[in-house]
Amino acid sequence: MSTHEQFADDLALLALGQLQGDERVALEKHLEGCAGCRRELEQLRGDTALLALSAAGPTPPRRARERLLKAIAKEPRAPKAASRRWTWTLVPWFAAAAFGLAAVFFFQQSDRLSQRVAELQSESAQQQAQLERAREVVTTLTSTDALRVTLVAAQAPPQPQGKAIYVRDRSSLVFLASNMPALPPQKAYELWLIPTNGAPIPAGVFKPDAHGSATVIEPPLPAGVEAKAFAITVEPEQGSAAPTMPIVMMGAGE
């Protein structure tokens, strides 16, 4: 690639943006077909950029940076204007731009987000309160210190009693027993869910306390089983897969 000597001086002027009139027209026409001179023009522009370095030193005031970033924030970039000739070297550039846009986006979102956070905090506080209440109920039901009183018709001797509360849709079961007779060692009571169809399903093993009270809270149960009745048998401590006769207590749903 060689430069045409007759254009050498004019190329320098063109690089400086100072070639006008016929000379400029003639040179631009020549450049269209001459890669050597085009290359030389690019180099000359590079040389002028070096010259720019001789002025380097002063730094712009901080307000100039803020002004630019503000202007950018106000003016989202039109995507179609981009990428005449896209190359990988622009990736960091786009990343920087994306960060800029993201910053603006998040800035705009921040109000809405903080509002949402406040809502969530209030919801969470409510849920926390409900949870506390539920926990208290469960603690009361399961507490070994609790005073358990079974009220029966006056003058009737105390009878063993069990109360099962079962919600089929949630497979949720709470069982409370009172006045249960004490058991021989290595034995326990086992609660059974008697489904409308099929074999009894184990619904928890329990041992009554010194006062004959016991609770079974949320034993693991298969989902959505329709219960016909609940029953209690005496089983080995670890429980059984099928009830051992006889049934000591039984009750059907009302």
Binding site: D9, A52, A56, R85, W93
Partner: protein
């Protein structure tokens, strides 16, 4: 964009300040150059040279336009710059600056002043010739020789 700004704002601003001699006007040029880049990210790609050099050329052209109170003349998309030193890093830039200043100092006074008048004052070779009372051809040659001397300083 902030990163690019932090890297190149000083060179863009310096050129504008040197040409226009006014901090407010230099800030305007700085703003315009970076906004152009923001609006048209596709105008620059690596085949146009390194970004620092490209921005310096664009900034100088824009500052000269402002100085001469004329509409922007060159389409920035057409500006291709070929230059060796990478102006991205502080250290490279400082080294390059030293070399440029050295090369300018080593030039004959008439050559350096012709180059600076053309570059920083935006005077045409005709204007320089009438100012110095020298033939047009001599001025043209000096300008080119000055640019070549700078290139040579970096080739060495």
């Amino acid at each position: 964009m902030a990163t690019l700004y932090d890297r190149y704002s000083s060179i863009v601003y310096s050129v504008g300040l040197r040409v226009l001699g006014d901090t407010g006007a230099a800030e305007d040029v700085l703003q315009e150059v970076f906004m152009q880049l923001w609006r048209n990210p596709g105008v620059f790609d690596a085949s146009r040279g390194n970004l620092g050099a490209w921005l310096a050329v664009i900034a100088r052209n824009r500052a000269i336009d402002v100085l001469r109170k004329r509409r922007p003349e060159t389409d920035i998309a057409d500006v291709v710059v070929s230059v060796e030193p990478d102006m991205a890093g502080e250290a490279e830039r400082a080294r390059a600056m030293e070399k440029v200043r050295g090369a300018l100092g080593a030039m004959p006074e008439a050559q350096r002043s012709a180059l600076e008048m053309a570059y920083f004052e935006g005077l045409t070779h005709t204007e320089i010739a009438s100012k110095t009372g020298e033939p047009l051809g001599t001025i043209k040659t000096r300008i080119r020789a000055g640019l070549m001397a700078l290139r040579k300083a970096f080739a060495a």
